[in-house]
Amino acid sequence: MSSPTIGVLAVQGDVREHAVALAEAGALARPVRKPEEIAEVDALVIPGGESTTMSKLAVTFGLFAPLRERVAAGMPVYGSCAGMIMLADKILDGRADQETVGGIDMTVRRNAFGRQNQSFEADVAFKPAPESPVHGVFIRAPWVESVGAGVEVLATLESGPYEGRVVAVRQGNLVATSFHPELTPDRRVHEYFVGLVRDAV
């Protein structure tokens, strides 16, 4: 099986962890910082980080136009945490000037679970990996407030104070999670995305 080349948006955030996870899931990972580098990858991961910082740097360095163009043309993208925010068509509790790439017909609430003292770990039933839950690491994480008709919900928290909250979605070739699978050794979320990329390219 050939290995797809998957970029990791490297303006800020946990780029290294995603690159390691992608390599372990069978992809060639490389950092993407400049507009011209976006054309050179089969797919992209938008990592966790500070979404307002990512948005600003993406504006300054002219990344939004080429990103939106490739997303519209069907490039697979996976976003975790801040990356989920970047893939949302609408966001709540962001900065007034905060832009997103968009592509997933959903409304995402930034820092929805609270500040760092409320950051938590919990098991998550991730539909594409039904054999056992994945371990979700939620860090000042967003949640999905609402989704449009074309969006498939991949995970909802099933118990505890956040019961019913949507934390993973897919629309077409775009996947987003509130949590950080790149911070755990379980590679099933990245394998799912790499499989999706293989089917798409």
Binding site: G49, E50, R95, V137, I139
Partner: protein
């Protein structure tokens, strides 16, 4: 009572090592800026800071004013929390666990047990395992970094010499820590026991660093970064992100300099971009030559 074990397993766990260290992972490649007012916090957020450090006086002013430097007024920390949506950090004195308890109760996202403030305990640092809020601590060498991690620090920053606008100590500490790690990684397994003794650090952590070839937590740089080129140099040396203290708000045009340092930190290997953002920034902070600083005014020696 729930009858399904899966439910019990999925109860959310807060304050774990993974969420503490993981928070620092999310800050990587970013710039954390010292701010003393909500207005400065907004300028920092506008410039693209990944977090702000709330404190009463920037280190350059602590140097100038002298006296005992303490945790900030809770009103001031709260004002900054309310002014921005990015993470907020705040400083506690070394060993002052009650200042840390107060900062945690305010809902701050990260506590800096900082040598910039006057130490409250000359023997013990804070037992950081007792807290839900994660801690960042300074270090000048690998042994010091590992002792802080053993006490529960979830992030390390090289100390540098805060409030000087002089990058020379930041360079020294970054090179020392990373050099110590490279030396460790070259040792045979049989030699790690003595290495742990010499580093005055727990063997398990020494072994982990030797295997990983890096610290088990994120390491930023701090203490004297004043220009975009300073920040990029620290990143090229191996820092995973940058703290800027006095360097921004003691300069001629803080908003512009803050944005330039953020951009240079992202594109730290691209000299064309660093050149572009370095133009027309106005005056940098004046700065202090370290060799004119008496030993008693050097902060890096605080903490052990």
């Amino acid at each position: 009572m729930s009858t399904t074990p899966a439910t019990a397993e999925s109860a959310p766990q807060t304050g774990t090592q993974l969420v503490k260290r993981g928070m620092a992972e999310q800050l990587k490649g970013g710039v954390i800026m010292d701010v003393v007012t909500p207005e400065q916090a907004k300028i920092a957020e506008d410039a693209g800071a990944v977090a702000v450090m709330a404190l009463e006086r920037v280190p350059a002013d602590i140097r100038k004013d002298g006296g005992v430097a303490r945790m900030s007024d809770p009103d001031m920390i709260e004002g900054i929390i309310n002014a921005v949506s990015i993470p907020v950090m705040a400083k506690a004195r070394i060993g002052h666990f009650v200042e840390a308890q107060v900062i945690q109760s305010l809902g701050v996202d990260y506590i800096d047990e900082s040598e910039v403030l006057t130490p409250a305990d000359e023997v013990n640092h804070i037992n950081k395992w007792n807290f839900t809020t994660p801690f960042v601590c300074g270090a000048t060498n690998l042994g010091e970094a590992l002792r802080r991690i053993a006490e529960g620090a979830a992030m390390i920053r090289s100390k540098g010499e805060a409030g000087t606008g002089n990058v020379v100590e930041a360079t020294r500490h970054m090179r020392t820590i990373l050099g110590d790690i490279r030396k460790l990684a070259a040792l045979e397994e049989d030699e790690l026991f003595v290495a742990a003794k010499n580093l005055q650090a727990p063997y398990a952590l020494v072994k982990e660093v030797a295997e990983l070839g890096k610290l088990p937590v994120v390491m930023f740089t701090a203490g004297g970064i004043a220009t975009p080129a300073d920040a990029a140099m620290m990143m090229q040396l191996g820092a995973e992100g940058v703290f800027v203290g006095s360097g921004i708000f003691k300069s001629g045009d803080p908003a512009k300099r803050a944005k330039a340092i953020v951009e240079a930190t992202t594109h730290f290997e691209d000299a064309d971009i660093i050149a572009k953002v370095s133009r027309g920034l106005g005056e940098a902070m004046v700065g202090i030559n370290i060799d004119t600083l008496p030993e008693s005014e050097r902060y890096a020696g605080r903490g052990w």
